[in-house]
Symmetry: C2
């Protein structure tokens, strides 16, 4: 079975499964494992690897609308090159500082393949779940989508500096906290925008819920236009590739203005919650995403 | 460089490094990465793997004298066999239940080698650090040492059931909480008893501190006598092999009786804090332990 089936099966046995973080009292907790073959293409430096892997867990904290408190990382590698380890820790610490969290250390493990497991801890009394979208809500996304797809393209083109720049991102913790009073449902876009929309619909447990989005409203990163010549590749980068760590969320339509004022990160309204599956410009939007990534369980 | 040097280097850059857990406000947080080659010898079933890997992080929580609240695990494997995944989760959940913690899920990742990263969260306002041993204190260890060395021997003998039984352990959370008011320093014995003693001495940052232990007071597990014929192999199993997850701690000598009454797990007084390095029966005890394991950073 693939991750999705396996996670669906696990969800039945785990009370807190099925959201970006597990909720433990007034804290949220999340873990992710990343490894070289699928997560760190050739060219990713260790500073970016530290930033990105810890950032992925901080993004899960953001998706609950929680303050980020701390993160730890377990670092597995065939050897411990001092400069690489230090660069990794610097990246991990810098991404924590960017969201006012503390990087509090980790574990080292001899491992044939470069592998990182990260955990983040957040705090909130009132987490935003995935399952609260209601018909009529606005469907929104922070920032821009497609940066990570563009980064992969840059790495393949040999433009390592640009790839690393695009691969680092600011976890949307401040936006998540600001949006918490307004959002009815929220998650991060790590599995891609299209799959995120499907997951929000599934999590609602409401029959006949859907989302209609408008392609021209999707905020595609400028790097996508720059690096992909083919329109179909551009569309795939924006809608399906994922790993962008933006927040995908729903808002009551009368809360959009207040949420815009509250959020330190701009967001786009890309559509509405409806009653008939996930559609884009009227056509069904496939539930396709970033296959190897976590399906979002805490 | 090996883990020890790398961790020592990291310790300079991380404020919370150098204990079993990182301290974050009134919470403690710890992560560990384990993998097939070195941590799960042939014969270890997935139930035991789930129990043991999550238990290792819960043991770090115990070593701070904290209540265990929750644990998560990231599970990396080449394929997701439903029975294996479910057995792993059952083991993870059962070890959490054994210490009144909640297993709250995790992440799945395609990985060539079976790899597990676990994280545990605990709560205490007053964690016990490694660095508080004082001259004259009693040196103590809970339970028995050598179980994991005996387990490896059982696996090598083909006695898989016994190996798995010996490989599961109850993290000493209840003992850690009960000992917290008395203990001056505490850690778990995951790197072996000898190395733990050296680490407690180093962490004290007191020049001319030492420990004198008496070999006949070391509580060697009955399985060690059973499975190792050679006296030198028995001694190595008890003193150096490690991975036993008992608590190694120091107590003011006038607190020993009260601590014995408070602790739900029996403990042995094996020696005293002195002024001249770590010795056993008067001879220097080598600082030798379980090389691949974490050096104990959170």
């Amino acid at each position: 079975m693939d991750e999705r089936e396996a996670l669906a099966r696990l969800a039945d046995t785990l009370p807190s499964a099925g959201d970006d973080c597990a909720v433990v009292g007034d804290r949220v907790l999340t873990t992710d494992m990343l490894h070289e073959t699928t997560d760190f293409p050739a060219g990713v430096d260790r500073y970016t690897a530290g930033w990105r892997s810890v950032g992925a867990s901080l993004s899960d904290v953001a998706a609950m609308g929680a303050d980020a408190e701390a993160a730890v990382a377990a670092y597995g590698a065939p050897r411990f090159d001092p400069e690489e380890v230090e660069a990794f820790v610097r990246g991990a610490r810098d991404v924590c500082e960017a969201v006012n969290a503390e990087y509090v250390g980790g574990d080292l493990d001899h491992h044939d393949e470069f592998t990182v497991a990260t955990t983040a801890l957040g705090a909130t009394d009132d987490p935003v779940r995935r399952g609260g979208a209601e018909r009529g809500d606005a469907v929104c996304v922070t920032g821009t989508v497609g940066r990570s797809a563009a980064a992969i393209e840059a790495f393949e083109d040999g433009d390592v500096d640009r790839g690393n720049d695009l691969f680092r991102f600011t976890p949307r913790v401040a936006a998540g906290v600001a949006l918490r009073p307004y959002a009815t449902a929220m998650m991060d876009s790590s599995d891609g925008l299209a799959r995120s929309l499907h997951q929000l619909v599934e999590a609602s447990n409401t029959s006949d819920l859907g989302m209609d989005i408008t392609e021209s409203y999707v905020p595609v990163d400028a790097a996508v236009d720059d690096l992909f010549a083919d329109p179909e590749a551009r569309r795939a980068a924006a809608l399906f590739f994922g790993e962008d760590f933006e927040l995908v969320f729903t808002l009551p339509s009368d809360a959009v203005e207040a949420a815009h004022e509250a959020s330190p990160t701009p967001f786009s309204v890309i559509g509405n919650v409806t009653w008939d599956g996930v559609r884009m410009d009227g056509d069904p939007l496939p539930d396709r995403g970033y296959g190897h990534a976590s399906d979002g369980e805490a």
